[in-house]
Symmetry: C2
Subunit: 452 residues, 2 copies
């Protein structure tokens, strides 16, 4: 059997990190200075700045502006090796990780494979309602959104045109709210002058949320404000709206069917399947329950961090939320524990418990509109929006990206222009019928009366 050994020599303890997201990357950075050999595995060659992914999906940013090669980020740490391999399973008894290229033995393991969107067991919905977790997801959503305007421009049947110009976002967490706001801005501000046969400002953006309010994770006051801002932008917000079906051409809400060619999924979250191989009982969202030090019960050498972990905290009955800060702080915490123990302290000695410092929650709705919750502070409108922008620029990995994103944002702000309106991959136009002369004329008349 092929046995993989990532490690040149065995003098130093071997640490395997699975996942190059916020958790894994921050663990690696801390261990870069420790007397260990580190192997980091990821399915992709880049670290993705998830919080801005929706801007790639809505053509405001390019993928390269929010993704940096993991190798490059860690290149100065000579004790870290990066491997582009997905990890299939962990054998906690034999202390082996099975990945696409073979197996890797470890002395310490950090599992940080995060979570993906879930369709509540209705995987067949995925084809009609793409979620937003990877660069490829974002580019595919961008393709669908832009393509459906192109199709509408050529669609003569009024109902079909309406469906192509209806965008439904399922789930009103931060990502859903941000997607809906950006889609509305595209329709109303970015592209109206570019089309002739359709008036894109009549496009309909519908935000569906099963809970009683948008941004359920935030203060009700801010939820109300976010809803008001969304509605002022022109977004149709429906709370208490339970999606009972997603099919080609529309979405079913309760027993009502909403015609929509574009349904985007920003709802459920499901932890990475790798958790199943850790031999413990997972919670309903597939998360791995961990001890106060973030280690796996019975396996002090295995740590689980970020969205994959169910981290106990008196302040959070359902465990810590799946946000970047929990992953970042968790990654640093376990790396310090490892560094300390390999530094000589007795293995398994009393470890510090992980204490999450909540730095607050931010969500942007559109230009000059956002909500922020920082400790007891509540912000909305322009100040929250500026804060949101600063924080996100600040946390971008590279200075190159910071400047590039600022430039695109500035351009976008001044001209309402989205810089990355590219339909890549093969566009398949599905035109039912093409316009008759009088139809074009009619549309034209309306167009010019609406005119600039």
């Amino acid at each position: 059997m092929v046995r993989r050994l990532e490690f040149p020599a065995r003098q130093r303890p071997r640490v395997v990190i699975v996942g190059g997201g916020f958790g894994g990357l921050n663990a690696a950075k801390v261990l870069g200075g420790a007397p260990v050999d580190v192997a980091l595995f990821d399915r992709t060659n880049y670290h993705l700045f998830q919080p801005l992914l929706y801007q790639v999906a809505t053509a405001a940013l390019s993928p390269a502006e929010i993704a940096e090669p993991i190798r490059r980020i860690l290149s100065r740490h000579r004790n870290i090796r990066v491997y582009l391999n997905g990890v299939r399973a962990v054998d906690v008894e034999r202390r082996l990780v099975a990945h696409e290229g073979g197996e890797a033995g470890y002395d310490y393991l950090v599992v940080a494979t995060g979570a993906t969107h879930s369709y509540f067991g209705r995987e067949e919905w995925a084809a009609h309602a793409p979620g937003l977790k990877t660069i490829d997801d974002a580019v595919e959503i961008r393709r669908r959104v832009l393509l459906s305007y192109e199709e509408a421009e050529q669609e003569a049947d009024a109902e079909a045109r309406r469906a192509k110009l209806t965008f439904v976002v399922v789930g009103a967490g931060p990502t859903g709210v941000e997607l809906a706001g950006a889609l509305q801005e595209i329709a109303a501000r970015t592209i109206p002058r570019d089309f002739r046969n359709i008036d894109t400002s009549t496009a309909r953006v519908v935000l569906l949320e099963g809970a009683a309010r948008v941004l359920p994770g935030m203060d009700p006051v801010l939820s109300a404000r976010a809803r008001r801002d969304l509605e002022r932008l022109g977004v149709e917000v429906r709370t208490g709206a339970v999606v009972t079906g997603v099919e080609a051409g529309g979405v079913r809400i309760g027993d009502q069917f909403l015609l929509a060619e574009n349904v985007l999924w920003a709802a459920g979250v499901q932890a990475s399947p790798l958790g199943r191989s850790l031999g413990v009982q997972l919670d309903r969202r597939g998360r791995v329950p961990v001890g106060p030090d973030l280690s796996l019960p019975g396996h002090p050498e295995v740590f689980v961090i970020g969205d994959l972990a169910k981290i106990p905290d008196p302040r959070y009955p359902d465990g810590l939320p799946g946000v970047a800060q929990v992953a970042i702080q968790g990654g640093r915490h376990v790396a310090r524990i490892i560094a300390r123990e390999v530094g000589g302290d007795a293995r398994g000695g009393a470890r510090p418990a992980f204490r999450y410092r909540d730095k607050g929650t931010l969500a942007t709705i559109g230009r000059n509109r956002a909500v922020a919750e920082i400790g007891r502070l509540r912000l909305a409108g322009w100040p929250a929006w500026v804060l949101w922008g600063l924080v996100h620029i600040l946390f971008l990995i590279s200075f190159r990206a910071k400047v590039a994103v600022m430039w695109d944002w500035l351009w976008n702000y001044v001209f309402y222009a989205k810089g990355a309106r590219l339909i890549t991959g093969s566009p398949r136009l599905k035109v039912k019928r093409v316009l008759r002369e009088e139809e074009v004329a009619a549309l034209d008349a309306r167009d010019s009366s609406a005119g600039p």
Copy 2:
């Protein structure tokens, strides 16, 4: 039968433009001010700045930096409609264009569908040697190039590793030369510190040219200089090298086989197949012979411009070269003819002949290295490189893109860093065998002796 009519009313002459490249776009811009209704058809929704496409393929630029939505470029011209449709055929007798959405009638037709790379009738080579004509081509080449370093990092078999680290570029025209130079810079400067098991600076970049010299279209003095510069960079240049086969894992030159997992095609050019439906005898490269006014013989209402046209010129025995300037100037020329004739002059009256003004040829080899041929002037080295940079920034469509590209170039120049090193699409690692401990150790030793 579905009959498409792009045109709201018939008072004004209808002009159909096929293709949104340099030729079609410039024709459209001129016609934006004329009393005509214009419909522009293109398979993609963006105008691509071809000259910098190789920088997307080599991770220096993002697609959105060299592509702008055609709609946006033309949005201020209310008499122009843009349709995302490929055009299948032209019926010059019935004056109809058959496209994916139906048919379009015209009073004037401008065909500007350009050319693509040709494998000299060996289409089976395409799978193993991707060419570089579209954004998707460029992203695929980027994926393959970056992925093969990732595979090499995990490849234990020395010969297989060698093959993964060998990059062959077929064709030493400007694109081939620029690709080879950029691939060499990636290997030697951009990524060496990012890998542990391989020394990327030992990667081999081979540039193959069937002719006796690189840049055959330019002055022999500059060809010699370009070759010297390429070799100084570390590129292996082989002229008079005729490729007799391309297969998985390598390329055949005469009767010699060169092991290489990465073969990039920058050789033959074949005009767009649309020319076949125009009912005239095409030349061996599929180009449409046109009259001095760029119209189709016997059809003064049909113009063919850019790479698709074989344009007679006493200075060029084989017709005008397939460069951007010929397309741009041709597009403006035919648009002015149309504008003049719809403006009242007798249709078919004496039309001015197209006179191409050669503004010169530029090719860059790598940082501080380029060659330029402008009239009688010959430039090489740093001045030519600066000129190349200025000209390309200047001709980029949008100010947004100009600034973005300058920033990426500046960053790249200072840090040798490529900003867009993303492997998108599903990376399939094909690792033959994984490293044994001593192998990693050996590679390691060599690595550290080679040092940062």
